[in-house]
């Protein structure tokens, strides 16, 4: 029959239209519309009604692995940058948008493990995440903030160290799984250090026992350090 396809198609559209309201009403009673939970269902495998999201009024939650321009992690406990300016991120960066100036000791002119200047040219960065993946100190991480547009496209998009640095509490908040892994690794490293220290102390004690003339010094337990590569 002519026109049956058209009618069928309009039926599909009509159903979509009504189901949208039904689904929305459901969520008014289930903790409110436009929450992360609602959005995950609305644009999820069980979606029945409207599929689109009215950005920026409505937003989808971003997954933990989501990556955008990197940021530098600042260790709030030790009150220092995690970055040691080893340069691995600058070397692995595919578009070569990371620029690092290493700090040199003014007296000896030897390198000190912290960056003097750190730039990421966000207009060149392709957000591939290789820098964060290969950083041995967990010092550079990928951000979740994807709204970077600005009125000027040259200087505002070259991010310097000040703009790039964010506290590790922020990192812990957006990357909970990664943060747990870090804590676990730190704990293990600390345990290993403690064991090493204990072994060294035992050795010393044994040596002291062999030579009772020498007094054994008390051994400090070393502070936990971030795991090296």
């Amino acid at each position: 029959m002519y026109g049956s396809g058209v009618l069928r198609g309009m039926g599909v559209t009509l159903k979509h239209f009504f189901v949208t309201y039904i689904e929305d009403l459901k969520y008014v009673f289930k903790g409110g519309r436009n929450t992360d939970k609602h959005m995950a269902v609305r644009q999820g495998p069980q979606a029945r009604g409207i599929f689109t999201v009215q950005y920026p009024e409505e937003r989808l939650p971003v997954p933990e692995n989501f990556r955008y321009i990197p940021f530098l992690v600042f260790d709030t406990q030790k009150n220092e940058d995690r970055c040691t300016s080893c340069g691995i991120c600058a070397k692995v960066c595919p578009p070569q948008c990371i620029w690092i100036v290493r700090t040199n000791d003014p007296k000896t002119n030897r390198p000190i493990p912290q960056p003097a200047e750190f730039y990421i040219d966000a207009s060149i960065c392709m957000s591939c995440g290789l820098c964060a993946e290969f950083c041995p100190f967990d010092a550079i991480k990928m951000d979740h903030d994807y709204e970077l547009s600005s009125f000027e496209r040259f200087n505002t998009l070259v991010f310097d160290k000040q703009k790039l640095t964010k506290p590790d509490t922020y990192h812990a908040a957006i990357h909970p799984t990664d943060w747990q892994r870090e804590l676990k690794e730190k704990e293990e490293a600390a345990k290993k250090e403690a064991e090493k220290a204990a072994a060294a102390a035992a050795k010393k004690a044994a040596a002291a026992a062999a030579k009772p003339a020498e007094a054994a010094k008390p051994v400090d337990t070393p502070k936990p350090e971030p795991p090296a590569a």
């Binding site: 495998p45 070397k91 692995v92 200047e117 995440g129 290789l130």
Partner: protein, 601 residues
């Protein structure tokens, strides 16, 4: 070919190459690392022998490599047999650098046409006997051949990355400040940019006049008088129409220059390169791992497949094998990519047919869900950058498999059936697609087209089966094939392939180990790749995607070439369109399913 063997050049010719040696004697010499070098006098003869007597009927890849140290350029050919499974036959031809002339193989394999033009354009190898040897990706005002080792780009900084200026004294500087634009652009001698437009277009239109007469040749007879053709009944003038480069139907910046007799196409010349960024030269500057995110940007609709193809090629050189769980993750990702790509292709094919955006948006809903999966695992929806040499970048997050199962087992089969139910039998689609843009099996093989295009023409050839890689030999699936070779069959075969992909996905999701390593060996920010040559290929959603990687043992690839299916499939566009109406050119192009990021590279 890989690993330890890669360190030493091939001393003796074995297997099929020995047959070649027996036949042609001294004209055949062993090549470095792999393949045989055929003397230029014997090349066409040998190619005919390879095609007809040895059965390697499908010329997959042609590319050039520049070796300034030996003062030579080398052309590398990879030929396969569509009737048998197994490894490629690699043969090469050499020519001195300053007078690089190699006989063209277009008379043996028509599929060599665009690839030889590309090798001329980028490496500067002249192919004697090529019907239309002119630049294909670059414009006429381009000076030099960029893949020659001594050619430097406008913003040249250093031969290889990482650049010394970045660390430890990395004071930021913009490339445009260092090398101001206009000081760094050269034109060939006797080239006047002001005169360019007229000249270049004249060259394109000139080509339209001498397009070979195909099976619909009754319309393509060359005319005697300059301004038009005569048919028996009505006197009409030939009309030249440009479709594109800015045209909604070309799916990007792609141009088709068409001559028309009434509404019927008599000749069609594709013009491309508007999105060219010299990906392969960038690839030579990059280190091996740095190329991985760049492969995402080739066919940006199916970045996971691109990742896998490149990873396979480099893994061949490094001789590493990913652990079990990583293999499964790879297969799952790649098959999801195929579904993603095909729903997009189908949606936009219908868009071209006039079903404005409704089917496309229905397709995109499924794509959106798959992209969510990619985002959760890889961190990005389209630029996934997920595969590594010997594994994948990171393990799947918690709950990923469950979400994937929900989509693959429940939602996708239902939605694909919906697609089929609502669209396949629509009268308009059948009328517009059936019998349009026919490509016979013979022509399909001749023109080296790949993927759904090849299989819709009745050639049951799929790299996953023919030259099995990763763990595809464990899965139970069929290679979809259709017989008519028209646009309608290309539509149907994509539906078939989605169903087969769902089948593979179901098995993979059932079999994937719950935990395990995802990376073989230790992760290195500079992969150590031994010297050698490798050709890794995967059955991408658009067709056979091949990566030809040459390593000389340095951290950067010596040569990095991509056999881009959407580029090579376009070889058949002209012959398919001749004899059809101009409106059909749009859907024939849509049925090839090109992505300009890959076509132009």
């Amino acid at each position: 070919m890989a690993g330890k063997a890669a360190a030493a050049p091939v001393a003796e010719l074995t297997g099929p190459l020995a047959v070649l040696k027996e036949k042609f004697g001294d004209a055949i010499k062993p090549g470095d690392f792999e393949g045989a070098v055929i003397g230029n006098d014997q090349l066409v003869e040998a190619a005919k022998f390879i095609r007809d007597d040895m059965g390697y009927d499908y010329l997959s890849s042609v590319t050039g490599v520049d070796y300034p140290a030996a003062n030579e350029v080398e052309v590398v050919y990879h030929a396969y047999s569509t009737r048998h499974t197994g490894a490629p036959l690699v043969f090469k031809a050499r020519a001195p650098r300053d007078n690089s002339v190699v006989p063209s193989l277009t008379s043996v394999w028509s599929g060599a046409n665009f690839q030889e033009r590309e090798a001329w354009d980028l490496v500067g190898i002249k192919f004697e006997g090529h019907p239309n040897l002119k630049r294909i990706l670059m414009w006429e005002g381009f000076q030099g051949h960029p893949l020659r080792k001594d050619w430097k780009e406008a913003y040249y900084e250093q031969d290889t990355k990482p650049f010394d200026s970045r660390w430890p004294g990395g004071h930021h500087q913009r490339a445009e400040d260092r090398v101001p634009f206009a000081d760094n652009v050269e034109f060939p001698p006797n080239f006047d940019p002001a005169q360019y437009v007229a000249q270049a277009d004249a060259a394109v239109y000139e080509q339209l006049k001498k397009v070979e007469v195909g099976e619909h040749g009754e319309l393509a007879e060359p005319s005697d008088n300059g301004n038009g053709q005569h048919s028996d009944k009505i006197e009409t003038d030939q009309l030249v129409v440009n479709l594109g480069p800015q045209h909604p139907s070309t799916h990007g910046v792609f141009r088709m220059a068409v001559t028309l007799e009434g509404e019927t196409i008599t000749a069609l010349e594709p013009v491309m390169g508007y999105l060219h960024r010299n990906h392969e030269k960038i690839g030579e500057r990059n280190t091996f791992i740095q190329n991985m995110p760049f492969t995402d940007r080739l066919d940006y609709l199916s970045s996971m497949s691109n990742n896998l193809g490149y990873a396979l090629a480099v893994e061949k050189l490094m001789n590493v094998k990913p652990p079990e769980r990583a293999e499964y993750i790879r297969v799952i990702m790649v098959e999801l990519t195929r579904i993603c790509n095909h729903v997009w292709a189908l949606g936009f094919l219908l868009n071209d047919l006039g079903a404005f955006f409704t089917p496309a948006l229905y397709g995109m809903e499924e794509r959106e869900l798959i992209l969510d999966l990619f985002e959760a695992a890889a961190g990005s929806r389209m630029m996934c950058n997920y595969m590594r040499f010997g594994g994948v970048a990171r393990d799947l997050p918690e709950g990923w498999i469950e979400k994937c199962r929900e989509i693959v087992f429940d939602r996708l089969p239902r939605k694909i059936d919906d697609f089929d139910h609502y669209l396949t039998d629509i009268e308009i689609i059948r009328a517009r697609c059936e019998g349009v843009g026919v490509l016979t099996a013979e022509d399909a093989v001749k023109y080296s087209v790949a993927g759904p295009l090849l299989r819709a023409s009745g050639v049951q050839y799929d790299c996953r089966r023919a030259d099995s890689y990763s763990i595809y030999d464990r899965f139970d699936f069929d290679v979809a094939v259709r017989d008519h070779g028209d646009v309608y069959d290309r539509y149907l075969i994509r539906l078939d392939e989605i169903r087969q992909s769902i089948r593979i996905l179901k098995q993979a999701l059932d079999q994937i180990p719950a935990t395990g390593e995802i990376q073989a060996g230790k992760k290195q920010y500079q992969a150590r790749v031994p010297a050698g040559q490798a050709y890794g290929r995967v059955e991408g959603p658009k067709g056979e995607l091949g990566f030809y990687v040459v390593s000389d043992g340095n951290p950067n690839p010596y040569r990095y070439h991509i056999r881009a299916p959407s580029f090579i499939n376009l070889t058949a566009l002209g012959p398919m369109c001749v004899g059809n109406k101009v409106a059909d050119a749009v859907i024939i192009l849509g049925s090839i399913d090109i992505v300009l990021g890959e076509t132009d590279r």
